[in-house]
């Protein structure tokens, strides 16, 4: 019961902290700008992409539809979302230490493990809200403004065209995997937050790690070949797998497994460190 109350407390604290709305506001503005740009000059962007196929294929119907718009938005924004998540979750433990409220919290009759887990869950709920908002702004707003239609996706293997009726479940799956990836970012930042009393440090460190892993993942250097499959950032992009045909089920399962392992490890390390920590702040 006290655990549920603690989760509720953590959610309330996030909800009443002005910083928490930066993520929602940023998504609203960014998606708004992209929607405006695509609405005003979207066809020229599409023509640029499709021009190389026009000698062999003819495109008919509403190519620039809500499904494509949502896909473009997700591809553009999924890199920025971890920053918005870390901005809130990186502060969940170290922010309490910086404010001094950690002393008050840890003299309450709730175990440190329960308190920390409630922060992980609250961080997960915040991540879910951000993802749902991103989904609403991209998929729902995209379809409202641009209508629906078949989704045309340009992959490394070539052009994939997905039937309109075949798209919604792919978005659902894609968002679920994206949520798991972002929850891992949240876990990483909370874990880093357990090591310090500085509220900015974990946020900056989380972003630095993501940046570093992204660079390692992008660099075509053999020395990184063995680590690349295990990097968090490699699997942050696996939402895109849902838009391949046929669906690479094994790759998706593999990504989910690696992300889950990341979460288990990060949460375990956090619990160990937080329980051992002397509160001197």
């Amino acid at each position: 019961m006290i655990f549920i109350k603690s989760i509720y407390n953590e959610v309330i604290k996030i909800a009443l902290k002005p910083r928490s709305y930066l993520g929602i506001a940023a998504i609203t503005v960014l998606v708004g700008v992209i929607l405006f740009a695509l609405k005003s000059d979207g066809m020229s962007i599409i023509s640029f992409v499709t021009s190389s196929f026009e000698q062999t294929l003819s495109f008919e119907g509403n190519v620039l539809n809500g499904n494509l718009v949502a896909f473009i938005i997700l591809q553009m924004l999924i890199v920025q979302i971890p920053l918005l998540i870390a901005l809130v979750t990186g502060d969940l433990v170290s922010g309490e230490a910086a404010m001094g409220t950690i002393r008050m919290l840890l003299t309450q009759p709730i175990s440190r493990t329960q308190l920390l887990l409630s922060k992980f869950i609250a961080g997960g709920i915040y991540t879910l809200i951000v993802i749902v908002w991103l989904g609403f702004m991209s998929v729902i707003m995209g379809k409202l403004l641009f209508g629906s239609g078949d989704l045309m996706v340009l992959n490394s293997d070539g052009l994939v065209i997905l039937q309109e009726a075949d798209v919604n479940w792919r978005y659902l799956g894609g968002f679920l995997v994206a949520f798991l990836a972002l929850f891992t970012v949240s876990s990483l930042s909370i874990c880093l937050s357990c090591f310090t009393d500085n509220s900015i440090g974990p946020i900056v460190t989380t972003m630095s790690i993501i940046l570093l892993f992204t660079i390692i993942g992008t660099l075509d250097v053999h020395v990184f070949d063995s680590v690349r499959p295990f990097l968090l950032t490699t699997h942050m992009a696996s939402w895109r797998s849902f838009f391949e045909d046929p669906l690479p089920i094994q790759d998706i399962k593999n990504s989910i497994l690696i992300l889950v392992i990341h979460n288990v490890l990060l949460i375990s390390i956090s619990i160990y460190v937080f329980n051992k920590k002397d509160i001197t702040a």
Binding site: G100, R103, M104, T107, Q108, K276, T280
Partner: protein, 303 residues
Amino acid sequence: MSEKIIEIKSIAKKFGLFEAVKDVSFHVNQGDVYGFLGPNGAGKSTTIRCMLSLIKPDSGTIKIFGKSIFTDRNEILSRTGSIIEKPDFYKYLSAYKNLEIFSRLSRVSVGKKEIYKMLDFVGLGGREQDKFSSFSHGMKQRLGIAQTLLHNPDLIVLDEPTTGLDPQGIIDIRNLILRLKNEQHKTVILSSHNLAEIEIICNRMVIINKGVSVVEGDVKALMNNEDLVVRLEVSDKDKSKALIMSQYPNIQITDINETSIELPMEKSKISELNKDLVNAGIGIFSIEAKRKLEDYFIKMVNA
């Protein structure tokens, strides 16, 4: 004999090579207002943090309500209220919301009515919805006291609760502690730099210095074990000194100024000395018995 609420035996804590606490032992009885004294860096805060499980000691035992803080932490903390150093709350939340958040973790059902009543009790009535960031230092301390008392704890730990308060605020907190003791029979641990405050409020105390508990016991008994320092302002200083030396040959008399001297003396002998001086025709302008906790504290700390 009173029930022991807190029993601390030989706790020690190192931070790297620095020994913050070397060997601290003391006990607090039910209903005590227990003074926790020591100079800066003596290990008071570390000891209090160990008691409340914020810091894990390297060795020693801590029993509160007869149970170990290491194994029955939640049960002990559910019966304890505390302010450690200064009360820090969520700046972006109101006084009411802050108390609501902490009350949810207290294992006691605390409703809106109780929170409002408690805020009123500590003098924050009418400011319930104001944000913590807008509060003065005194108001923050009052909110800290409200949080401490909200779940009606049996043990209250107050670490420097009057720091930064104005004189009226200090008197209010002092009266509040006395009310908690006298009306609600709470056990209170009071860590303070204000030694006069300890002398006025506490019935028992421990002095900690350099990580070691130097002395522990009843405040009045500890005070009475020591001679008072008596300052006399007299009409004839030399005659007074000669008279005193004739009656107390080994006494050490200190000249203060042209009319004043100081000497150590038992409390019971002061009236006799007064009578002897008057009988010798020496005019006495003032007699001041200076024995205070400050002197005792300094003596113990420098020992």
